[in-house]
């Protein structure tokens, strides 16, 4: 089968200091097919190098559930990068 260039479109949300580094609260982004949350984060870290230092102290969510970094993304997914939580 000929390879067809497909992409997925996801919504990305930023919270806490990540929001301040990225300078936005949310955006929609087109990603290559087979993109996972890790590659999505790498995309932003390449644009905002300060993000990289927080990689080990973040968790991610997909569609409002905590998700592993290798979760594959599909069109319509809502991904968020979440700093350590401090409610209460």
């Amino acid at each position: 089968m000929p390879s067809v260039s497909q992409s997925v479109r996801v919504k990305v949300l930023f919270f806490g200091r990540l929001k301040e580094i990225a300078g936005r609260t949310q955006e929609s982004i087109d990603l290559p097919a087979e993109a996972d949350i890790e590659s999505l984060f790498a995309h932003y870290a390449s644009h905002y190098p300060e993000l990289q230092q927080y990689r080990s102290s973040l968790v991610a969510s997909c569609n409002q559930e905590f998700a592993s970094w290798n979760t594959l993304l599909h069109t319509g997914d809502e991904v968020a990068f979440l700093p350590p939580v401090s409610g209460g």
């Binding site: 806490g16 592993s68 594959l72 968020a80 939580v85 409610g87």
Partner: protein, 157 residues
């Protein structure tokens, strides 16, 4: 026994009234209510706090609070639960989170309330920004447990 549908779970931007919440969970079948009232302290690590700002991933935070409330019913012999967290700017002394649990007997109410606040602080996507005279910091927090990579979602095909 009350069903979880009588529970109150909310994220609010207005002041929380712990006394009103107690009334919401109080029933004639109860013999005990335990209330956790978390409020804004005037200092943090030897610095004088001016005020706090809370933000949340609101739909996910509310869903996680509702999961905690449901879990309380499955794990403890309790009747009703109220869990409310405030967002936005909070002044010193204002309640940021209030949890009220009613039960026939005190032990279950104490245990459930303790479990609820501990789990909220560990798993609910809410963040606290502390403002001081010379700047602000995002409060140190806890990393919620996340599914391991081996349980990753498989691609749809």
């Amino acid at each position: 026994m009350a069903s979880p549908s009588t529970d109150i779970t909310a994220l609010v931007h207005e002041p929380i009234d712990p006394v009103a919440l107690e009334g919401c969970v109080r029933g004639n079948a109860d013999g005990a209510i335990v209330i956790f009232d978390g409020f804004v302290r005037d200092h943090s690590k030897n610095r004088r706090t001016l005020y706090l700002e809370y933000e949340a991933y609101e739909p996910m935070a509310l869903a996680k609070i509702q999961e905690i409330a449901a879990h309380l019913h499955s794990q403890f012999s309790i009747h009703r639960v109220a869990m409310v967290h405030r967002l936005g700017r909070l002044e010193i002394g204002e309640t940021s989170v209030c949890i009220a649990v009613s039960a026939a007997h005190r032990a279950a109410a104490f245990d459930a309330c303790r479990y609820a606040i501990d789990t909220l602080k560990r798993t609910v996507p809410i963040w606290k920004k502390e403002y001081f005279e010379d700047g602000f910091v995002w409060a140190d927090g806890e990393l919620p447990p996340v599914p391991s990579a081996t349980s990753a979602v498989k691609p749809a095909s």
